[in-house]
């Protein structure tokens, strides 16, 4: 059997000397939706940036479609990039270009198709995310949900084999968020790509995930089919899933120190 399209092995990463990822191992099968969950500071955004090759790991490996990112040369990247689609949390549409131009950008960069064909492809992608007729709008004129969908259309422009979505439903009202989740499921069913979703929205995660990966302080504390992770006996997992605030043991003296502003010194020592 061939290797899964996304493989992460013993990934360690630092941010300014502080460890952010401590030995992450995971893989994503073809056509699978893996949702990476975790609170803020859990390292999930950092993990995504490593998957995209935007950051260099301290140690460990990331392989996308058989290509080791650390060993990828420019030529390899050029072959790999068109096979990846990414929708960032903020949408990251280029604000100086219209929605249509944004979707055309990867098509222009990686294909040599004539202009009318490009335009047709662009409208096709916009139709996929229900944004027909919005191609001449500027990103600033779009609502939050429309921006996310336009970003999704741009990510899908080159029919990628791997799709990465950063917080696709964050900041949207529940109805729009649910519609977007449906859309992700539909697209996967039609296009059959592997999808990695990073989110902290529990409801959306449970709805779209085939498998869940729960990150906490840079470690994978649960990885498996959604139902299995949901019923995990681990306290740390349940704390995250039921949104209980994990309180470290604090003595009255600690609290007093904190209030007096001595807390930071204590932590450093």
């Amino acid at each position: 059997m061939s290797e899964p399209p996304i493989v992460v092995e013993a990934l360690h990463a630092d941010y300014g000397g502080t460890p952010v990822l401590r030995g992450v191992d995971l893989s994503v099968a073809a056509g699978e939706i893996l949702v990476i969950m975790g609170g803020s500071g859990s390292g999930k955004s950092t993990l995504l940036r490593h998957l995209l090759g935007l950051l260099q790991p301290r140690s460990g490996r990331v392989r996308l479609l058989g290509q080791d990112l650390a060993r990828a040369r420019e030529r390899d990247w050029r072959r790999l990039r068109p096979r990846l689609g990414v929708a960032f949390q903020s949408g990251a549409l280029l604000s100086s270009l219209s929605v249509g131009e944004n979707v055309l950008l990867p098509l222009r960069e990686h294909t040599r198709l004539p202009e009318p064909t490009l335009k047709i492809l662009m409208r096709l992608k916009l139709a996929m995310v229900n944004l027909v007729g919005c191609e001449d709008l500027m990103p600033a004129e779009l609502s939050g949900g429309m921006i996310k969908r336009a970003a999704l259309a741009r990510a899908l422009a080159l029919d990628p084999e791997l799709l990465f979505l950063d917080e696709p439903s964050a900041g949207l009202d529940p109805v729009v968020a649910a519609a977007l989740d449906e859309l992700i499921l539909e697209l996967r069913a039609v296009l059959g790509m592997s999808v990695v979703v990073v989110t902290h929205e529990l409801e959306s995660a449970f709805k779209i995930a085939d498998r869940l990966c729960v990150l906490d302080r840079g470690e994978v504390i649960a990885l498996g089919p959604t139902a299995e992770v949901r019923n995990s006996p681990s306290e740390r997992v349940q704390a995250l899933l039921t949104r209980r605030r994990e309180s470290p043991e604090e003595t009255p003296c600690d609290v007093l120190d904190e209030l007096m502003g001595r807390a930071r010194q204590r932590r450093v020592n």
Binding site: L52, E74, R81, A92, S95, L105, P106, H110
Partner: protein
């Protein structure tokens, strides 16, 4: 004391790192310009033209006004100071040399630094905060190729052109004033101007402005790409890039003048 020294050390270290980053960006931008077409990723001409219009053509009116004023001002001061020892007739020489070698490149450089250096920092800073730069990277569009090379090429062409324009207008202002005050024809001023100005003086000024173009773009780009901390960070980077660009221009001007007059 120790904390102060540590802070100083960190600032020096950061300064050196930033300088290295600027040099790296410059080399990458030049490399993309030269090798981009062969790699199938050319620096887009349309982007260069757009930047040239925005940074260069847009600055023409204000360059014209300021240059005319500066030229007239230099003539006024020149006649005043030379009249102290009765040498008003030498004013054309002084005006011609100071405008072509110093005033025009300097005023144009400072003007464009304030107008475009800050805009560049703000634009790249906003793009960074909005993850647009990361989005370009993952689409396989290298940010240096699409965001650094176009303004660099545009300003390398346009700032010398603007400087030349500024020289002409400043000399026009000076000539009109001088010929009116000293009572000879504008034509006579032009004749004298031609006699005292060498091509070298104009090249000195124009050459310097190409160096200023490099400094303005690199300072703007470095500040923009390093923005952190949201909207406040963008504001800080914008201010910083104007102050740094103008300082860099003035210091580089001094060094250039020193080296060029010894050669």
């Amino acid at each position: 004391m120790r904390a102060w020294l540590a802070g100083l050390g960190r600032q020096v270290f950061d300064g050196i790192a930033e300088f290295g980053y600027a040099v790296l960006l410059l080399l990458q931008a030049l490399a993309w310009t030269v090798t981009g077409p062969a790699r199938g990723q050319p620096v887009r001409l349309s982007a260069v033209v757009q930047q040239a219009v925005e940074m260069g053509i847009g600055a023409v009116p204000i360059v014209l006004i300021l240059s005319f004023a500066i030229g007239t001002m230099v003539a006024i001061q020149g006649i005043y100071s030379l009249s102290l020892f009765g040498a008003e007739s030498k004013v054309t020489l002084g005006v011609a040399l100071s405008i072509t070698r110093e005033f025009s490149p300097l005023i144009t450089g400072i003007l464009v630094a304030g107008r475009s250096g800050s805009a560049l920092a703000a634009r790249l800073g906003t793009m960074r905060i909005n993850e647009e730069i990361a989005a370009l990277t993952v689409m396989g569009i290298h940010p240096v190729r699409s965001l650094v090379a176009p303004p660099l090429l545009a300003l390398l062409l346009l700032l010398p052109a603007l400087t030349w324009l500024s020289m002409m207008v400043a000399l026009l202002g000076a000539g009109l004033y001088i010929s009116a005050v000293l009572g000879f024809s504008f034509h006579a001023f032009l004749d004298e101007l031609r006699a005292v100005t060498a091509l070298g003086d104009i090249l000195h000024g124009v050459g310097k402005s190409a160096l200023f173009a490099l400094l303005i773009v690199l300072v703007g780009v470095v500040n923009g790409l390093q923005v952190s901390g949201g909207a406040v960070g963008i504001g800080r980077a914008t201010t910083r890039s104007v102050v740094h660009a103008i300082s860099a221009i003035v210091v580089a001007d001094m060094i250039f003048a020193f080296l060029a007059t010894r050669a």
